[in-house]
Amino acid sequence: MGKQATRVTVNGKSHARVVDARLTLADFLRHELGLTGTHLGCEHGVCGACTVLLDGRSTRSCLMFAVQANGCEVTTVEGLTPDGGLSVLQQAFVDNHGLQCGFCTPGMLITLTELLRDNAEPSEQEVREALNGNLCRCTGYAGIVAAALDAARQLRAGTGG
């Protein structure tokens, strides 16, 4: 029951698979493509760890099926990372103690990538609002917010990375 062909471009590479219709995009990324950078916390849309960019927009990959992503472009945390180093945002997380256990980090990075793309100079309030759908149980968010503001400054100044 319910097998379906889907073709999804992930981090620039096209993947065609026949999958169960009920396979979530998150499980497709992790189990079919081996891209385990996308983390699954709650699997019902609350924690935000599984957030990916779907056609450039932050999306919970646990709340859609891989067949729905047919023809779409997906960017995961692996796709945010330049060869041989860290992105400006990723380095800012390191510098500002923006992560501790690291479980929420992929979702945080994806959400903030979308924010900084659309808003080069976010206020602290705007950063916090953007992050209201991403739970972190370690940091208390202060380091994450500082990392986002730091990355935004560096990207505006063109001094990062």
Binding site: M1, T24, E43, H44, L63
Partner: protein, 342 residues
């Protein structure tokens, strides 16, 4: 046995009694009330659940490109359900609170998208994403009340997928968009193989997580009759964390003439009843009156008469208090935006 080693279905069984609340309903912090409606678990699990893979029960997926095709599928397929944005349905499927044989995805139907302003009404396609509406210049110009409410709907990631039609069909009592439709006396266009029928929102909203839609019907579009351009709007809700379902909220529209007399008022509450609640007594108290703080305070006092539900998140008494405070704030904002300094 430690909970973590139990199959998901048994975890859901264990968890379910904890979620029961005082009036026999069930609520959850994250997804509000869907457990109430689907509180009796359908445990007809048709297969074993392999850890880490495939939480939902199996189904056949259909992706029609035309509205007519979708209507045919809904009319002919047994146990079929519509997939709009999926931000409420897929969690329920992941928990197997909902088990379907067929899922009809409306995401590929171009006719269900778009915003159109004509003949004194704003028409919104059912599959318009909440985030697109939030950022839409047409919505900002013609329906700023909705634009303001949308910022409170879920999170950016869920608004990127969630649709207006999905929110209305899901009919969560704490949801913002049904309250906006109630305030505007919206008209819902419901499509099926029998054609499209127009349903006034007061008839569309049919109690707790229930609508006037038949099982084979889908929302095609929503019409919002426009108010005068200089009418004012106000929107306030209270949630413990930003992005959570509100404990209570209020949406207000006020049309005031040059002499400061209220020509027309609408006040819709949400989170306090089985569906959005128009506070007719408050509207009547304002209409024809000189708009000032006393008039607003007296009108909002009508919220003292409502009997909100009690659950694990808030008592009915607290919700009633919130309804009055939030009504006052929403009406004050609406008055100021209508040019009256209250």
């Amino acid at each position: 046995m430690p909970v973590l080693t139990l199959p998901l279905v048994e975890i859901a069984l264990l968890a379910e009694p904890k979620l029961a609340c005082f009036d026999g309903r069930v609520r959850d912090a994250a997804h509000s009330s869907f457990y109430n409606y689907f509180g009796t678990l359908s445990l007809a699990a048709r297969d074993t659940i392999s850890p880490g893979k495939m939480k939902p029960a199996p189904f056949d997926y259909h992706a029609p490109r035309k509205l007519e095709e979708a209507a045919e599928l809904l009319a002919s397929l047994p146990n079929a359900k519509i997939l709009a944005g999926g931000q409420s349905l897929v969690p329920m499927m992941n928990f197997r609170y909902v088990i379907v044989d067929h899922l009809v995805d409306l995401g590929g139907i171009e006719d269900l998208r778009g915003i159109d302003v004509a003949e004194g009404r704003l028409r919104i396609g059912a599959m318009m994403r909440q985030r697109d509406l939030e950022l839409s210049p047409e919505i900002a110009r013609h329906c700023p009340l909705m634009a303001e409410a949308l910022r409170h709907v879920g999170h950016r990631q869920t608004r990127n997928r969630g649709t207006i039609g999905g929110s209305l069909a899901h009919a969560d009592p704490a949801a913002e968009l049904p309250a906006i439709c109630a305030a505007y006396d919206a008209v819902v266009h419901a499509a099926s193989v029998r054609g499209i029928r127009a349903v006034p929102f007061r008839k569309f909203s049919a109690g707790f997580m229930a609508t006037a839609l038949s099982p084979d019907e889908m929302i095609a579009a929503i019409d919002l009759p426009l108010w005068r351009a200089n009418a004012g709007h106000g929107f306030h809700e209270f949630a413990r964390r930003q992005g959570d379902f509100a404990l209570a909220g209020a949406a207000a529209l006020l049309d005031v003439d040059a002499a400061g007399i209220v020509k027309r008022a609408a006040l819709a509450l949400f989170g306090v009843a089985e569906g959005p609640l128009r506070l007719a007594a408050a509207e009547a108290a304002l209409t024809g009156q000189v708009l000032d703080f006393t008039a607003i305070r007296n009108a909002a006092a009508a919220a003292r008469l409502i009997e909100p539900i009690s659950d694990i998140h808030a008592s009915g008494d607290y919700r009633r208090h919130l309804a009055q405070v939030l009504s006052t704030r929403a009406l004050i904002d609406a008055a100021r935006r209508a040019g009256v300094d209250v």
